[in-house]
Amino acid sequence: MAHNSRDERTKEAEPSSEGVPAPEGPANLIDTDYVIGQDNLATDKLGFSIDLHGKVFTISALATVFFVVITLALQAEVEPLFNAMRDWLTGNLSWFFLLAGNIFVLLCLGLIVSPLGKVRIGGMHAKPDFSYSGWFAMLFAAGMGIGLMFYGVSEPMSHFGAALGGTTVEDGVRTDWAPLGAAANDPAGAASLGMAATIYHWGLHPWAIYAVVALALAIFSFNKGLPLTMRSIFYPLLGERVWGWPGHIVDILAVFATLFGLATSLGLGASQASAGLSYLFGVPETDATMVLLILGITAVAIVSILAGVDKGVRRLSEINMGLAVLLLLFVILVGPTLLILTGFFQNLGAYLVNLPALSNPFGREDANFTQGWTAFYWAWWISWSPFVGMFIARVSRGRSVREFLIAVLLVPSLVSVLWMTAFGGTAISQLVGTGFEGVQDAALELQLFVMLGELPLTAITSFVGIMLVVVFFITSSDSGSLVIDTITAGGKVDAPKPQRVFWAVIEGVIAIALLLGGGLVALQAMAVSTGLPFTLVLLAGCYAIVKGLMSEPRS
């Protein structure tokens, strides 16, 4: 950089671990006296080395044990409590979630077209750490791979059925679950509305939620030099206070949301995967099967995190991406090809036409849909955002803001449209065209396999389906453990390896304990409830992104 002062350089070049002064450069480092890892406890007295943020790690670990124990011990008491908390949030604050979601989408779309889109993550001369395919595979696997497997068939079917049934009103309140005004007795209209509603939940909004967290963290870490941990988002608002308790609380909450979100999904996912295995191959659907699945997933995840981001997580994500593309192509080619291809554009159109009404936070009549579906989804995506956002941030260095947002927001949204059209559209056409009601009647976790059962080569495609579910769990588990480890190490990405293993093991242990002892649903409800505080974090993130980008040089 031309402005670099040679004198300053030599002055700064002290090979010590003391306060790092801010060098001038193409990326504007924030001038802070905080040294990453200064509050850490580091020792290798235990036979292996550890390097942890004392307060964040200790409190997170103790609180985790506490919550798992009370969930196991007082199940009957805490389950209604956690569920009530989640229902109250999505019921009474649905307007807030919907409004915030819209802000995130508008900000991201605005940044793509604004001159701020030229800023490069990691400074003007930064080079990407990963190729496009590896990068995209990782952000997709972390973001929603597993969800697409479970909801790709079932959600379009649910909305289609609800919309077709029309509206029902009791005492002036709508009791149906249909989106907007429904489409009573109009299969084409119901299919279109159902797909639009599904894509709304899997398109721009969830990806904008991830993009806001990821971009805010990426800018403040790679460009501003702050640690790669949630609290850094608050620097523009709180200044040096983020290194104290306000920051600790944000980080601890992030560990919580990530750990409980992952562990409960792993537990519930294992029961779903074992239902699939039993349906397909007659494997007994017992606790032993599920525990073995969790152990297997955790073991592979540990191998993957020891191998690292590039050799572990990226490779697995790419394998999964390849498998998912094969399955998608298979459904498109063997299923109703023409219907899917024309459906892609029709559904995209229906999404855009219905988007203003679907995303309107105020004066909605379809309360069940906005609260039970949309607000619940938003809280869920947002509670996942510290994990997914931080992981996306970590692998996105070297990309320009515009490139980042196109890859994190627009491309995945289009992939979601195609995926939902192929899987949901095929299932709907089976119901409407041939009157096959199997998918509709099947349990949620089996709907994908029942749909595939109507296509040829069922044994192969169902096996690929199960594999995808399992590997998506592995990629969630390994990237999640990396994120939790980085947060509890005070933002250090180079903390000793045993810590990563520790978190992956804890995740598996919580999943097994709650699977056997009960309470998965309760704890998941609590994890989803962290969506509320994180909505505030994300709104702060929006402010931070704009403020941070304004002060960056644009290439």
Binding site: R9, T10, E12, A13, E14, P15, S17, V20, A22, P23, G25, A27, L29, V35, I36, G37, Q38, G47, F48, G122, G123, A126, D129, F130, S221, F222, G225, L226, P227, L228, I305, L306, A307, G308, V309, D310, K311, G312, R394, V395, R397, G491, K492, V493, D494, A495, P496, K497, P498
Partner: protein, 141 residues
Amino acid sequence: MYKKIMVPIDLAHLELLEPSLQAVADLARHYRAEVCYVGVTSTAPGNVARNPEEYQRKLEAFAQQRKAVHGQPVSTHTISSADPIADLDDLLTAAIQDVNADLVVMPTHPPKHLDVIMPSHGGKIATHTDVSVFLVRPPRD
């Protein structure tokens, strides 16, 4: 016999390097060899440096300090990685070729049980390169 000695450096734990740095200085003087100090840093901010450029400057300054000690020519090579802990062995093995070194000197710990799961970096590198590797163990108390 040796023209260029590669010395992997962890700027965050210089105290652990002390014995091996002494050996490097002696070897460099004896063989009149150039010493190339290699550092692997995370692309994300860490406790030594907040970006790879800053790490590079610190490593360069460190190399100059060492030059003042042993008087042989020095050079530096900074490698940045998204996951330095996991990629370290591969990156260092590749660096031996990149800097064209014919001897690697690095510290290592005495063998222990955990090595089965997580082998020491020095041992791993020695098995994956065709140049000579000198592993310096901490002095016995």
